[in-house]
């Protein structure tokens, strides 16, 4: 296997080196890539979409169709992780560990699979037990809302500064993952249950594709946000800018939900009970 690996690697290497000689030099402003298609994106974005961030304009408008499928890829990954990993809810008893919070005694209780309610005096702990860590819990607790606000800011300001739906969605998802890591998976699930994030994920993509389909219903091409001008009561160029924002919100929702979904499935091995 090792010789095969070296062989394949060497072959690829030789092939690519062979082609490298004919590349235009790095960062050469006169190369074909910079002169054929892309100048129009830079020169016309303000005029045609009124979005200063050319990347966002190209991402969500000129090549918005790619981005729709990009979001679909993420959604598909979420569904796939659920599909191959999630175990059906088993019946029958399970042993759980509880700790009496005043004396620190740990007891093992036989109970049903359903995640039990929170008790006043007993605290449920994972079988792989992590101690109560005051510093991490408190700091993360304080950090999470700011992280979420930052994620929303990134989504909302994708037009004017780097960022957009995907980045903001990942940050939002990371905030929930942070909660799940610093406390435990049950805490995060109590805030956002499985059904919620599993439904948010297609809904996010649906916002995107639905916007496109709405344009189609309004008589323009698919994803031609100019058609939204009639609904939003603005001129077509601003309508494009708003259309991009709507789409980015959809992307953000879908990405957030998927990241949480994948993390929950992987970290709990599909049981949705105890996480990392």
């Amino acid at each position: 296997m090792r010789t095969l690996g070296i062989l394949v690697a060497a072959l690829t290497c030789a092939l690519l080196f062979y082609a490298m000689g004919d590349f235009p030099p790095w960062a050469d402003p006169g190369s074909a890539a910079h002169t054929h298609v892309s100048p129009r994106y830079i020169e016309k974005t303000m005029e045609e979409t009124s979005v200063p961030n050319a990347v966002t304009a190209v991402l969500a408008d000129y090549r918005g169709f790619d981005t729709m499928f990009e979001t679909t890829v993420i959604f598909a990954a979420g569904v796939v992780c659920f599909f191959i990993l999630r175990l059906p809810k088993k019946e029958g008893p399970i042993f759980r560990r509880y700790r009496h919070t005043l004396t620190g005694m740990t007891i093992r209780v036989k109970c049903t699979r359903k995640i039990p309610p929170v008790l006043e005096e007993f605290e449920m702990i994972d079988n792989l037990w992590a101690p109560h860590d005051l510093i991490i819990k408190t700091s993360c607790r304080i950090l999470v809302p700011f992280l979420q606000l930052f994620g929303l800011y990134v989504i909302a300001h994708g037009h004017h500064s780097p960022g957009g739906g995907f980045q903001g969605g990942v940050i939002l998802g990371a905030s929930m993952i942070l909660l799940a890591i610093s406390h435990d998976l049950r805490t995060a699930l109590a805030r956002m249950g499985e059904k919620v994030h599993a439904l948010l994920c297609p809904i996010g993509v649906l916002i995107y594709a639905g916007t496109g389909a709405l344009c189609l219903v309004l008589g323009r091409d698919f994803l031609d946000y100019g058609a939204l001008a009639g609904i939003l009561h603005v001129d077509p160029v601003t309508a494009r800018s708003h259309g991009i924002l709507i789409v980015e919100i959809g992307v953000g929702l879908a990405v957030m939900a998927t990241m949480i979904w994948i993390y929950n499935n992987i970290s709990s091995r599909g049981e949705y009970d105890e996480g990392l």
Partner: protein, 195 residues
């Protein structure tokens, strides 16, 4: 291992709305108190949004309002898990007064570690130990502030804090070991009104 844990935090975190008793109608004052965390969270978040956004047209401001309301509703019990900890104005002022002193301490700490790092006979100079001491602080936030301050200041790192205020600390050398709990604890206690 800690013998006890924080019950309050757990109840709040798992079941956000469990604290209120449905049988008792809350008086207006109580309602105002319950509303206060929301308000403070919202103001904090919105000021953060202003700093982040830097755009003051109505469109972006309304986006900011919506986002802040969403985050507030989603996570007000994360910043202030127990009613009453949102504190008074005095706490905030005291806390802000504490920060410059902390910065000075951090600067000194950095010089201290820098000196140790570049000292040619560093191995003889340091004497790492793990030791414990009992703090008189109570409440989550003061404890965590104290712990983080310890981590940031001369030659000490907090290893573990138990809920009743027992600190386990790793110290790099003798002088830093002797400086604890010392003045820092006093200042934190003053900042959080536990004097």
């Amino acid at each position: 291992m800690p013998a006890t844990t924080n019950t309050r935090e757990n109840t709040i975190l798992h079941e956000p709305g469990q604290g209120s008793d449905p049988g008792v109608t809350p008086s207006t004052r109580k309602r105002a108190r319950a509303f206060l965390p929301y308000a403070i969270t919202f103001i904090l978040l919105f000021s953060l949004w202003i700093v982040l956004s830097g755009k003051f047209d109505p469109f972006h401001l309304s986006l900011g309002l919506i986002s802040c309301v969403m985050v507030t509703l989603f996570s007000k019990d994360l910043i202030f898990p127990e009613p009453g900890t949102e504190g008074s104005l005095r706490t905030w002022v005291c806390f802000i007064r504490y920060v410059p002193w902390l910065l000075y301490q951090i600067f000194m700490a950095n010089l201290h570690v820098l000196y140790l790092t570049f000292h040619p006979r560093m191995m003889d100079l340091i004497d790492p130990r793990i030791f414990r001491f009992q703090s008189r602080l109570k409440g989550d936030l003061p404890l965590v502030t104290f712990a983080n301050s310890i981590t940031l200041t001369p030659g000490t790192i907090t290893v573990y804090v138990s809920i009743d205020g027992t600190f386990t600390v790793h110290a790099l050398d003798k002088s830093s070991r002797e400086s604890l709990p010392g003045e820092m604890e006093r200042r934190i206690a003053r900042a959080f009104g536990e004097e």
